[in-house]
């Protein structure tokens, strides 16, 4: 086999990079669990017809087939799912909605869950855009109804989770929020009825600029030049205090129920956020979100100083994503693009690790016949929670120390005998070597496990 090369869009990390990713995942998981979210995983595949319910994502789906399908099985299969084939999920929201419907009888609502898994999209790979990547989602789903306060709570949980990563060198985040009711109420108040077309084009603002969007609003959303300019004026409003609400009201002139409801919600979110996560949440009326299933709050999140990377945590309120006809399960959720975040941390050198292997100690081996004594020391240290490995060979001690050094292991342990006396442990960074017993010696806390720290 020739030396293989990486596959574009399918990121993999060296052990050090994986330590960073694992630390990020551990911090997210702990934050989510502190907030009472239960972890679930769903299978990687969904029936293709479910994945394709939203036409716009169809081009991104990876379809599966078995290389050699068993003809017996093909002949006897009767499930709708298998008839239409399977695809890899492209997000965790669609599978979660299906999971809720499938297991509704076994879940207590409102159901709070987090889910951390890989997803796949057959998109053209770019900086921060992958074909395989990890998402970390939280959602709350109600049975029939879901109070608005969850639309306030969930972005604040994400603010806390991302904030907990500040100490390893993750830049601060800014969570941009908007409300579909505000946008829709405003557009309808203007006399525009094709709300989806307006949102779809407003969503292009950062990419193509205001003039091009105005032209598209006229061409595709049935807007007059004046209506288009009003839509752009709305999109230009942003701020982190409730004055935003007043500015929208002024711009709108005449009000309507939907606009009022949306502004009341947006105001409540801004108010709560200013207390619970000061400076993090900003109302930004240009946030549209591509997905048409959002019905209330929508969220996007940028890393301050890395705005070009795009959103690293997005989501919103949805009312009809999960419905089996008889019952509807409205929800609100956000999804962190973990791979996008981690790849930025690594590529810009924002974070580093104190070492790339778990071991704090390498137990030296003086000769192969005595390996069992080194193994016993290692077992004694591990029993007290100290990560340890034993030297690969009974090479000269200098070589064994170099082996530890190459791997970043801070301590080398020498097993004593009748001749050499007590066991000794050497800090190979300082060169300090002291007598030690495997039943009592402990490294300082900072050396016990590899740590992820700001670079």
């Amino acid at each position: 086999m020739a030396r293989p090369t990486p596959l574009s869009g399918f990121p993999e990390w060296l052990p050090e990079g994986r330590l960073v990713e694992q630390h990020v995942l551990d911090v997210l998981r702990r934050t989510f669990e502190l907030h009472g979210f239960a972890g679930i995983e769903t299978r990687a595949v969904e029936p293709l017809d479910q994945l394709l319910r939203k036409g716009e994502t169809s081009k991104e789906v990876y379809v599966l087939r078995r290389l050699q399908e068993d003809p017996d099985e093909a002949a006897t299969r009767g499930h709708r799912e298998t008839e239409r084939g399977l695809g890899l999920h492209f997000d965790l929201t669609v599978p979660f909605a299906r999971y809720v419907l499938e297991n509704a009888g076994h879940l207590a609502f409102p159901f709070r869950r987090y889910q951390i898994q890989k997803v796949w999209r057959g998109e053209r790979p770019q900086d921060g855009r992958f074909r395989e990547f990890v998402q970390a989602d939280i959602d709350v789903v109600g049975a029939g109804t879901l109070p608005y306060h969850y639309e306030v709570e969930l972005p604040l949980v994400m603010a806390e989770a991302l904030g907990a990563l500040r100490e390893i060198g993750v830049p601060p985040v800014r969570i941009l929020v908007n409300n579909r009711k505000v946008a829709e109420g405003f557009y309808r108040g203007l006399g525009l009825t094709d709300v989806e077309a307006v949102l779809r084009n407003i969503d292009k603002l950062d990419k193509i600029g205001a003039d091009a969007v105005a032209a598209l609003l006229v061409a595709e959303a049935g807007a007059t030049e004046e209506q288009a300019r009003a839509c752009l004026a709305l999109a230009a409003i942003s701020g982190s205090d409730e004055s935003v609400v007043e500015r929208v009201r002024e711009l709108a002139g005449e009000s309507n129920d939907l606009l009022d409801e949306g502004l009341a919600e947006l105001g409540a979110l801004i108010r709560a956020a200013s207390v619970r996560a000061p400076g993090v949440v900003v109302a930004d009326l240009k946030i549209a979100r591509g997905l048409d299933y959002y019905t209330g709050s929508v969220y996007e999140t940028v890393l301050v100083g890395h705005e070009q990377l795009g959103s690293i945590c997005s989501g919103g309120r949805y009312d009809t994503l999960a419905s089996d006809g008889a019952n509807t399960y409205p929800g609100v959720g956000l999804s962190i693009g973990v791979s996008r975040l981690v790849s930025r941390l690594l590529s810009k050198g924002l974070v580093t690790t104190t070492r790339s292997v778990p071991s704090a100690v390498l137990v030296a081996v003086s000769n192969e016949d005595d390996r069992g004594r080194s193994d016993a020391v290692a077992a004694a240290l591990r029993a007290r929670g100290i990560p340890v490995e034993v030297a690969p060979s009974a090479a000269k001690f200098g070589k064994q120390i170099r082996h530890a050094d190459r791997r970043g292991i801070p301590f080398v342990w020498f097993v004593g005998d009748d001749e050499s006396g007590a066991d000794q442990v050497k800090d190979i960074r300082s060169g300090e070597q002291v007598d030690a017993e495997a039943s009592t010696w402990t490294p300082v806390e900072a050396d016990l496990w590899p740590r992820v720290v700001p670079a």
Copy 2:
């Protein structure tokens, strides 16, 4: 959307089941890290030609295609990998071998890694056999050479990892070991040269019985009736002390270098295991393993009392799996079938959890205007590491307590005010209710997080 139904072979767990799986994964990860294994993940896909290097697995591979492939991209793609397509990995060994070759310049050898990921096989689903399942692997890979002692170490790490699960109700395990050199030396000593054919048929012993295997050895491996019986006699040898070595020698009669080397290795493994994991490791000369890349020790593991489930942890020594022509990276590793294990724990009711949600406390809400005060209590408790959620609505307290009860949350917190006095916390199991402060109150350790315990 109609109520969806499960997909055969793609297991999913309810939150309680996921807690069990997550606990198993946490225990495995901790054990692996205590032994100095660094965690990595590889992408889920590999170039199809790599996955199909072993013809026997080809029928199991899921092939990917993008639903709407971009014609431009199809026209310009030049990589061998994309030309031949991508498939989902069916194990973690083949991707790891590729990862080692790809990153050899950045790794320190011997490289110790663990890897916990899903894999996919398009097999017919059965009890304990899935199309999507989680594997937890450890491997040590050397550059050029790899000392035998790793073949002793790795099954003992797995013995420790699986042993650490005893306390949640996982049955004891028995690790069955054999050595390809013993088998091959023995067969060659008999005059049999098609060693692969012998191993392939011996591997069927448990399924089809000794007489049928004898017939196959004659028909397919060129054995005489007598040679076939000798192969079966070897396969019948097992035991957990070194007498096994003597019994093989007696049966073999004349010796040869390969047999001697294999028996020395097998003896060393049994000897070390009897000290470090007494009663767990058993030499079993019928263990053949289907994969032809093994060259030394081979391992299978059964759950005692659940032998019919098949092996839950298998592996072996391989010498040529990873080679780029110039360099070879021999390795030894084992893989735990986590989904097989967890599904057995759940289906047989061997383990349970103290609750299905993380929250130890539900903070009640007396009216929606006061939700902010409940949020503040929740934040104070979380800041001290206590998992908390706030009631979904300001319903009557009885209803809020029932909500906690349905979710298994042991404590309900009532926020005091000028009228009602101090905050109080109620243990809804005992009904005991006491004054409490969010800055100091802590549940007993057993109630802090959901625990996974024997059923």
